[in-house]
């Protein structure tokens, strides 16, 4: 029987899953992901996680619970820093500890630490340590690592071309030719937020699809060229400490200053600590650029379809009318 490694389908899943899957595949380990987020998953999470925790953490708890009995290992690495500059939210840093000390009946947890600051080849070293559990051959692990890295960059390229993570993953897996995406959209919105909220259709209450149906093309954080995001200067005395927050804030500043979109939506989760700051900075910035409408949408574990749909329709209508007025003027 092959060894099974479980990967919760949330948080880092949307950024790094193709890499992890390839790596374990090459080592002959079966990868099992949890099901997509559903009412059941969220309920399971809400039951076990602390009431004061943020929605993404509750969702994560839910995913872990639905998968923990089906696998031999759980993959929850401690990702501290990947770009030598910014780290991740404190809750990310202590994810495996929170899981370990509050859930029972867990399989072994792979919680190796990744911190690239002051440590050359830190990512490879971590992968080597992970791989050692399943293979004795350093050469085999290295090959798997290289292939995984290659696959990750292919995946990232696909996302940059405008495919959503779920589509990009299918294309990557089946090697099918890319379908041509031709739609007639009259508006273009930037939907800025953390990948585990924006791409999780259940958590985001289908926000992206809803916008598409309303005739709006969406741009997400992962689809932007890195150079834009890195170049954008927030002019703040201090950069955000957290990787995702830093990216969201920078990209919003980029859009406010350079335009290119008809509106900006900040999608955030109830109780998100870093976002309380990010959102305020975006709001203050938007006051300087009244030309670009800005809306902030907070979702929580009981977000309803209807409420969100109404808000989106109103926002889209407003932007449309404004655009028409601008054209006529």
């Amino acid at each position: 029987m092959t060894i099974k490694v479980g990967i919760p389908k949330t948080l880092f899943y949307y950024n790094y899953y193709p890499m992890i899957e390839t790596f374990f595949d090459e080592l002959g380990v079966e990868v099992v992901t949890s099901d997509s987020t559903s009412r059941k998953v969220i309920d399971a999470g809400v039951r076990e996680a602390l009431a004061d925790a943020c929605v993404p953490i509750k969702v994560f708890f839910g995913h872990v619970q639905t998968i923990k009995d089906k696998v031999d290992y759980l993959f929850i690495p401690r990702v501290v820093c990947l770009n030598k500059k910014t780290i991740y939210c404190p809750k990310f840093l202590a994810l495996s500890d929170m899981i370990k000390h509050s859930l029972d009946g867990l399989p072994e947890i792979i919680d190796n630490r990744i911190d690239v600051r002051g440590n050359h080849f830190a990512v490879w070293k971590t992968f080597y340590h992970i791989g050692k559990r399943f293979s004795n051959s350093k050469c085999k692990i290295f090959k798997a690592y290289l292939k995984a890295k290659g696959n990750l960059s292919k995946y990232q390229d696909l996302v940059k071309e405008g495919y959503l993570p779920s589509v990009a993953m299918t294309i990557l897996k089946n090697n099918n030719s890319k379908q041509k995406m031709s739609h007639n959209y009259s508006l273009r919105f930037a939907v800025l937020g953390y990948p585990y909220i924006v791409y999780d259709n259940y958590v985001s209450v289908n926000l992206l699809t809803k916008l598409n149906h309303l005739g709006v093309e969406t741009v997400t954080l992962e689809q932007l060229p890195d150079t834009w995001v890195n170049k954008a200067n927030t002019m703040l005395p201090k950069d955000m400490f957290w990787t995702f927050s830093d990216k969201v804030l920078r990209s919003s500043y980029h859009f406010f200053e350079h335009g290119g979109v008809d509106g900006i939506i900040h999608l955030t989760a109830f109780g998100c600590g870093p976002d309380s700051m990010v959102d305020k900075y975006m709001e203050l910035k938007s006051k300087q650029y009244p030309d670009i409408p800005f809306m902030s949408v907070t979702i929580d574990e009981h977000s309803g379809e209807a409420g969100l749909a109404t808000r989106l329709e109103a926002f889209v209508d407003m932007v449309k009318r404004k655009k028409e007025a601008d054209v006529n003027a």
């Binding site: 939210c89 404190p90 809750k91 202590a94 870093p274 309380s276 203050l284």
Partner: protein, 369 residues
């Protein structure tokens, strides 16, 4: 002349006031945070910012009305949000049309030149460097004396014969220390304070239970933000030992690693090996240590949405079970009412007292057998 203010954090304002005034600034003393402070803060702060953020914003808005033009505060290097608070406060104040300056001290170990520049920009009296160092030493002395007074109040309050005497003496001692300006005066005031505390009539027979107080630094140090939890507990006959004092925290941040911090980190190691900012890891470590020291219970207080404390709270039930120490958590926000808190505290204290009684009964039973 600069008109400066700074966060109101327990009694520390007494020491800061002296330092700022002697450097040639006019000090607008931050008012004790009250309902008005919180209302102002809540109105303009982001919804999910934590309680300290809202209290501080309210404080600044109250002092800006009195002509304050410079905020002096501390920064941080993350990953706790507090490191960004000062700058966002300034941005919000600017947006409201108040053009205030911000002098935000970063850890001098990492940014020594920046630290020096900021000290100089506050130095309107043109003091020499050596006199600034002397002044800081005096401020430090005062802060330590103030912390000493507070510790005494924690020990004596549960044993006082007449309810409220200790709080009065504590206030009096603060006033004496406020007036003291030289090292000798501070020493004399401290000695007076100790004497006044020892003169409080006490009931030495009373059975007092001992509780450790852990959590986030601001709500721990500012009684107005934690609804005077220490005083309330004291009146219930509970001796409180608080895990954090401003002097201890400053030493941890200035020097390499103090022995105390090392032991706390070590104690937290099996549960939380990673530094997660704020005082999350300290909360775990202190709880373990209180458990080993056979305290009767631990109370964690933290602001609502505080990231590090949420992590700590998620892990604490396990610590509580393994070290057999009851833990009660309060997440405080602008909605927290004192009556609700007192009820929960009473229930907790009752449980602790009963637990202690049961243990002593079973012990006497075994010795009799």
């Amino acid at each position: 002349m600069r008109k400066v203010t700074f966060p109101h954090m327990g009694h520390s304002y007494i020491a800061f006031k002296m330092a700022m005034e002697e450097m040639g600034n006019e000090v607008i003393i931050p008012p004790r945070p009250g309902k008005e402070t919180l209302d102002l803060g809540v109105k303009y702060a982001p919804e999910f910012a934590c309680l300290p953020y809202k209290v501080l914003l309210g404080t600044y808005l109250q002092t800006v009305a009195k002509g304050m033009d410079t905020i002096v505060t501390s920064g941080g290097v993350g990953p706790c949000r507090a490191g960004h608070y000062a700058h966002l406060h300034q941005a919000i104040l600017h947006n409201l049309g108040y053009n205030v300056n911000l002098i935000c001290f970063e850890p001098p170990k990492r940014h020594p030149i920046d630290f020096y520049r900021k000290v100089q920009s506050l130095n309107n009296a043109k003091l020499s460097i050596s006199s600034i160092i002397k002044l800081l030493k005096r401020g430090w002395h005062k802060l330590k004396a103030l912390d000493h007074m507070e510790k005494l109040s924690h020990q004596i309050r549960p044993r006082e014969l007449k309810r409220g005497t200790t709080s009065k003496v504590y206030l009096q001692a603060q006033r004496w220390l406020d007036e003291a300006r030289t090292h000798t005066e501070i020493k004399v005031a401290e000695a007076e304070g100790v004497k006044a505390f020892n003169d409080i009539p006490q009931d030495s027979e009373r059975k007092v239970i001992k509780v450790g107080l852990v959590g986030e630094i601001y709500v721990l140090l500012e009684p107005a933000s934690n609804l005077e939890i220490e005083e309330t507990l004291g009146h219930m006959g509970v001796e409180v030992e608080r895990s954090l004092f401003l002097t201890g925290w400053t030493v941890d941040n200035l020097q390499k690693n103090t022995e105390e911090l090392m032991t706390v980190t070590e104690a937290a190691q099996p549960y939380l090996p990673e530094l997660i900012g704020g005082h999350g890891r300290d909360t775990i470590g202190h709880t373990v240590i209180y458990g080993k020291r056979k305290f009767d219970g631990v109370i964690q207080i933290a602001p609502f949405t505080c990231i590090p404390e949420i992590v700590a709270r998620t892990i604490l039930p396990k610590v509580s079970k393994l070290h057999d120490i009851p833990v009660l958590t309060f997440f405080l926000d602008e909605q927290t009412g004192k009556a609700g808190m007192v009820t929960r505290l009473e229930a907790f204290v009752d449980l602790l007292k009963r637990k202690k009684q049961n243990i002593s009964i079973s012990q006497t039973a075994t010795t009799l057998n």
